[in-house]
């Protein structure tokens, strides 16, 4: 097959490309330039958008012995991932940009262009397995549970999976690093990327405040009546479930359901127990807090379902995962119509945030996913 290997400059995608070559495929490496203003050097271990990463990818391709190109997808990435990320937070939801990137960029823009140019598949360094089952191509969890990335691939449909290649799904990460070293790949010891690649300093709240809250504290305008603050701050109240004001915040952006740190409420709870974010309302500019038990979610509604194969029929016993690196939770899912999925959890779960994906599993197999719209406590 003619394979397009997406090479981020990290160790995983480099080994994945090398394995595709070993498997006898005709492999071409591409580095996706996703940042409009690429920085020369990484700050810390984050990101995959710097010129240094492009160079690391190029050197890996040299060592593997494959042609290498850079594809500029900055505009696409900004439209489909970054702007969506900002809009979702503005609406009080907590998006996962990696899913979005896989769905809209890596396995859409890149795959479509690759197919049109004569390639048969897109190969990435994701930790997930593709197995051929009775119903066609199946997406399964990786054998290394600590590295499993099937959650961020749960948005891929059958057509996308048919043209995907994940050569690392059967291998533990530590072995991938050893293999990279034995192949002479200089990225063998390169740290894993974390956080969100387009927020290079890791400060998500600051990133959102700069874009959504130009009148806020980060803009440098004096709070309230600064001459530079043309727009109002989204600062507001922190309240309990009964609506009693407990404190204030500088801006709703950056608060995530289940968050405990950074609330800075002066007075402790009457029962002395820690308080968590239960709800974020950008319109009312309130952050609602409560006890850990108040976080318990028993069910949820989700929109925009995407299925890796046949959609479930009726009420189906399965496991769901509601955030990256979350535990699988036993549940019953029911597809209400083409657009709406209902999930009933067998046991209450915490830290379930609208905007995140609920990925449905049957054992290790990914059935599909949907975007969490609301939760039932």
């Amino acid at each position: 097959m003619k394979v397009l290997a997406a090479m981020s400059g990290g160790v995983d995608s480099a080994v994945a490309a090398a394995r595709a070559v070993d498997a006898g495929h005709d492999v071409t490496g591409v580095h996706l330039a996703l940042s409009k203003n690429p920085q020369s050097y990484r700050s810390g271990a984050r990101g995959c958008c710097t010129i240094e990463d492009a160079r690391d990818a190029r050197r890996a391709a040299d060592v593997i012995g494959i042609p290498f190109y850079v594809w500029d997808l900055a505009e696409r990435f900004d439209e489909d991932v970054v702007q969506d990320f900002i809009a979702e937070y503005a609406a009080g939801r907590t998006p996962n940009p990696c899913l979005r990137c896989n769905e809209k960029v890596k396995f859409a823009a890149v795959l479509d262009k690759g197919l049109a140019l004569g390639f048969d598949a897109v190969c990435t360094g994701h930790y997930a397995r593709l197995l051929d089952g009775a119903g066609g191509r199946e997406l399964h969890r990786a054998v290394d549970p600590g590295k499993d990335q099937s959650y961020v691939l749960g948005v891929l449909d059958a057509g996308q999976l048919r043209h995907a290649m994940f050569p690392l799904g059967d291998t533990p990460k530590s072995q991938v690093r050893r293999e990279a070293a034995s192949r002479g790949l200089a990225v063998a010891e390169k740290p894993d990327s974390h956080d969100i690649c387009f927020i290079s300093d890791g400060d998500t709240a600051g990133f959102l405040r700069r874009r959504l809250d130009p009148g806020g504290a980060e803009s440098g305008a004096a709070a309230g009546a600064g001459p530079g603050g043309g727009l109002p701050s989204t600062g507001g109240d922190i309240v309990d479930r009964e609506g009693n004001r407990l404190g204030s915040h500088d801006g709703v952006y950056g608060f995530t359901i289940g968050q405990r740190r950074g609330l800075r409420i002066g007075t402790p709870a009457p029962d002395g127990r820690p308080r968590y974010v239960l709800d974020v309302s950008p319109v009312a500019r309130t952050v609602t807090v409560g006890s850990a038990e108040d976080l318990d979610v028993r069910g949820l509604s989700a929109r925009r379902p995407r299925w890796c194969g046949a959609p479930p029929v009726g009420a189906v016993e399965c496991a769901v995962q509601v955030r990256a690196h979350g535990e699988p939770l036993p549940a019953v899912v029911r597809l209400l119509d083409d657009e709406n999925l209902d999930v009933e959890l067998h046991a209450p779960a915490r830290g379930v945030a609208p905007g995140q994906a609920v990925v449905v599993y049957d054992g290790t197999r990914v059935v599909g996913s949907a975007t969490i719209d609301s939760t039932r406590r």
Partner: protein, 402 residues
């Protein structure tokens, strides 16, 4: 380290061209000999002799005096020295001189110097508009000067454009500028060896050339600078070259460079005819194979570099086409190479009035001294299928945009 690349049809001589046997021989001979050309002993004098003979060869070939040849590390350094050096010295002589007139289609080596001077040194850039072929009209230069002649520090207009190959009216521009006593620099990196370039006859005050575009080694070039021209140095140190360029002279590279200049200039007239024939054949066959391909630059073959053919392929992305041709052993360029390897729409095409899409849909085929009809045949054997495929990919990209 790694295997040699497979045999390819190399249609990217404007990026760099293979070294001439004469240049390899001249350079290799010096690589085996010791000596710092600035040393006073016999070994040093021997190296100095090679440098000075090389200087005379370069001067002779390009219509300059030996003392007007300032060796540099290549075209970029020569452009930096000319643009920054002239700006600083002219403004030091008269603080009103802050305007820098430059064509909108300059190579980044000039473009970025001007922008840097604007950002950090108080320069006021005046970008000279070009016509649809990429050419600066002398009347445009005249009008820009007339706005305020006393405030012009320098004018810089390339001899021939590296992307679309258009030849600029250097003699006329220089004549107009000199009526006001304004110095003119020209980046002639693409012109030497392809066109008749005579520094003395051109009237220019400064002219940049480089070795590797004419069959010489990489990493060496020269600024031809009129003897009375005051230039403030960019590189400070031992002052080896006329006190305006420092750094131990690279005797082997300079020897190879001189051999290449000498050969390229001697062979220029004949090579230009050959390349123009080959290029005209390439253009005609590309147009026959891809009827909607747009030839960019001057359609008059005499108005462009003889080895240059530059097209927009509507509906295609240039980098997709480049990849498809590369996979079939045909090597060309989308325009000028860029640092991160990321394709941006060409500023040259945009200045010529092309749309963003057409400016991204370009391929440049550039011929040189090793080019043959077989290279053109190889291109035409794979181009139609590549265009068809790239066009499909272009449609997919366009339709999946919301």
């Amino acid at each position: 380290m790694s295997a040699d690349p497979p045999t390819t049809a190399y249609l990217d001589h404007a990026a760099t061209t293979p070294m001439l046997a004469e240049a390899i021989e001249a350079m290799s001979r010096q690589l085996a000999r010791p000596g710092n050309a600035s040393s006073l002993h016999a070994t040093g004098r021997s190296a100095r002799r090679v440098v000075e003979e090389s200087r005379e060869i370069v001067a002779q070939a390009l219509g300059a005096r030996p003392s007007e040849v300032v060796f540099t590390s290549g075209g970029t350094e020569a452009d930096n020295l000319a643009v920054k050096g002239l700006f600083w010295s002219r403004r030091a002589a008269d603080p009103r001189r802050v305007r820098v007139l430059a064509s909108a289609v300059e190579h980044h080596a000039v473009l970025d110097c001007v922008e840097w001077l604007a950002e950090h040194q108080g320069a006021q850039p005046v970008w000279l508009d070009v016509d649809e072929f990429g050419r600066v009209g002398p009347e445009t230069v005249q009008a820009a000067i007339d706005d305020d002649p006393g405030s012009v520090a320098l004018i810089t207009v390339m001899w021939a454009n590296n992307e679309v190959g258009v030849v600029q009216p250097i003699a006329e521009i220089t004549r107009i500028a000199h009526e006001h006593g304004i110095p003119v620099h020209s980046d002639a990196v693409q012109a030497v060896g392809a066109l008749a370039v005579d520094f003395g006859r051109s009237g220019l005050d400064a002219l940049s050339i480089t070795g590797h575009k004419i069959g010489g080694p990489l990493g060496v070039g020269a600024l031809l600078a009129a003897r009375n021209l005051a230039l403030t140095p960019v590189l400070h140190g031992g002052g080896q070259e006329r006190e305006i360029r420092s750094g131990t002279l690279d005797t082997p590279a300079i020897a190879g460079f001189a051999a290449a200049v000498s050969h390229a200039v001697a062979a220029q007239a004949e090579l230009a005819l050959e390349l123009a024939d080959l290029r005209d054949d390439l253009v005609a066959r590309v147009r026959a194979a891809v009827p909607d391909a747009i030839l960019n630059g001057d359609p008059d073959p005499d108005g462009r570099l003889p080895g240059n053919a530059h097209f927009s392929f509507p509906g295609c992305e240039g980098d997709a086409l480049l990849m498809l041709l590369d996979a079939r052993g045909v090597e060309c360029s989308t325009g000028s190479a860029c640092t991160a390897g990321v394709a941006r729409p060409s500023h040259v095409l945009l200045a010529m009035g092309a749309s963003d899409d057409l400016a991204r849909a370009t391929l440049r085929f550039s011929l040189g001294h090793t080019s043959t009809k077989a290279d053109v045949d190889a291109l035409l054997s794979v181009l139609p299928a590549a265009v068809e495929r790239a066009r499909r990919a272009g449609l997919v990209s366009a339709s999946s945009k919301r």
